[in-house]
């Protein structure tokens, strides 16, 4: 109890001593974020006319979503096969969704080309 009060007091003292520096950092970040948000706003206006948005998913996020979805489906199929006593080779993905598979292979192919 006493130790925590002392710690809080010490923190208060430290914050008071460092307050000019903290205020300076906050002020700099304030200006920086204001500038960045203004630039992002202008970019977003251009993107709006192109039918996209600055807030849309990144390429990496799309890739991750597809990969995780594929894995989930494969796991579900394995579980289903196990419950129905069907032997499935775990080393060959049994993905029936051809479209999904194609998009995944395209992504992987695209990565190789890079």
């Amino acid at each position: 109890m006493m130790l925590s009060i002392l710690k809080t007091f010490g923190l208060g003292l430290l914050c008071t001593i460092l307050s000019p520096l903290i205020l300076l950092v906050l002020a700099l970040y304030f200006v920086y974020t204001l500038l960045v948000v203004a630039i992002m706003y202008i970019i977003n206006i251009f993107k709006y006319f192109k039918g996209t948005s600055i807030l849309e998913e990144l390429e990496e996020e799309k890739k991750a979503r597809l990969i995780l979805k594929g894995e989930e489906e494969y796991q579900a199929k394995l579980r289903e096969a196990y419950l129905n006593n069907i032997t499935v080779n775990p080393y060959i993905p049994q993905n029936s969704n051809q479209e999904e598979e194609n998009s995944l292979s395209n992504i992987n192919g695209g990565e190789d080309n890079d």
Binding site: K7, L11, G12, Y29, L55, L58, A64
Partner: protein, 211 residues
């Protein structure tokens, strides 16, 4: 025994009071800093949420990539969150601008005065004319008694003051929200750097004999 400093009862009382006030102020600042630290830690957790899938799917494989994507996502997050405070600040700024143009009073300090600004909304004490204490006969700036109240919250009815009242609420809420999101932005930046160092770290020390 020779007394170099002879404190009267009154001096002792003043010194104890000042000492207690200083301790309480530092404690309050420390508590506030603790609260801010907790808020920042909670806001930093957002990085884990938006980066988790990309790391799990092994789309991101290096610390450099992590920091790069983390920075972009942080800006996207900030842009999404900061729209409300910016709208509030813009509304407040427009009202202030109208006030300045109509009254032709471009001196910003009038925004805080009692007659034309928001000053009338707050309690005000006459600290300047309060009786000051003296220690060892030396006059100090420490007030002896609680000073007199010179302003009780009330509304002034004139265009300049009314416009100041209207603009004050969005300004206050906007600044508080902006500061909150600013701290969130800083804490997410720190968390991104921290995670980029630890997420891809391979630890052999705790895996002795298990490999």
């Amino acid at each position: 025994m020779i007394n170099l400093i002879k404190l009267t009862e009154n001096d002792k009382r003043i010194l104890i009071a000042v000492f207690l006030i200083v301790i309480i102020i530092f404690l309050l600042i420390g508590l506030l800093a603790n609260i801010i630290r907790r808020i920042m830690a909670r806001q930093g957790k957002a990085v884990d949420t938006y980066m988790y899938d990309m790391v799990k799917a092994k789309v991101i494989t290096t610390p450099h990539q992590f920091r790069k994507i983390g920075r972009i996502k942080n800006f996207q997050y900030l842009y999404k969150k900061i729209r409300l405070p910016l709208i509030l600040l813009t509304i407040s700024f427009i009202i202030c601008l109208v006030r300045f143009i109509v009254t032709k009073d471009y001196f910003f300090a009038t925004y805080f005065t009692n007659e034309k600004g928001i000053g009338a909304l707050f309690y005000q004490w006459d600290w300047q004319n309060a009786e000051k204490a003296s220690i060892l006969g030396i006059p100090t700036h420490i007030p002896m008694n609680w000073p007199e109240v010179i302003n009780i919250p009330h509304f002034e009815v004139n265009f300049s003051a009314i416009m100041a009242y209207i603009s004050f609420l969005p300004l206050l809420v906007g600044v508080i929200l902006y500061l909150k999101h600013l701290l969130g932005f800083i804490s997410r930046s720190i968390q991104t750097i921290k995670l980029s160092k630890t997420v891809f770290q391979k630890d052999l020390t705790n895996n002795k004999g298990t490999l």
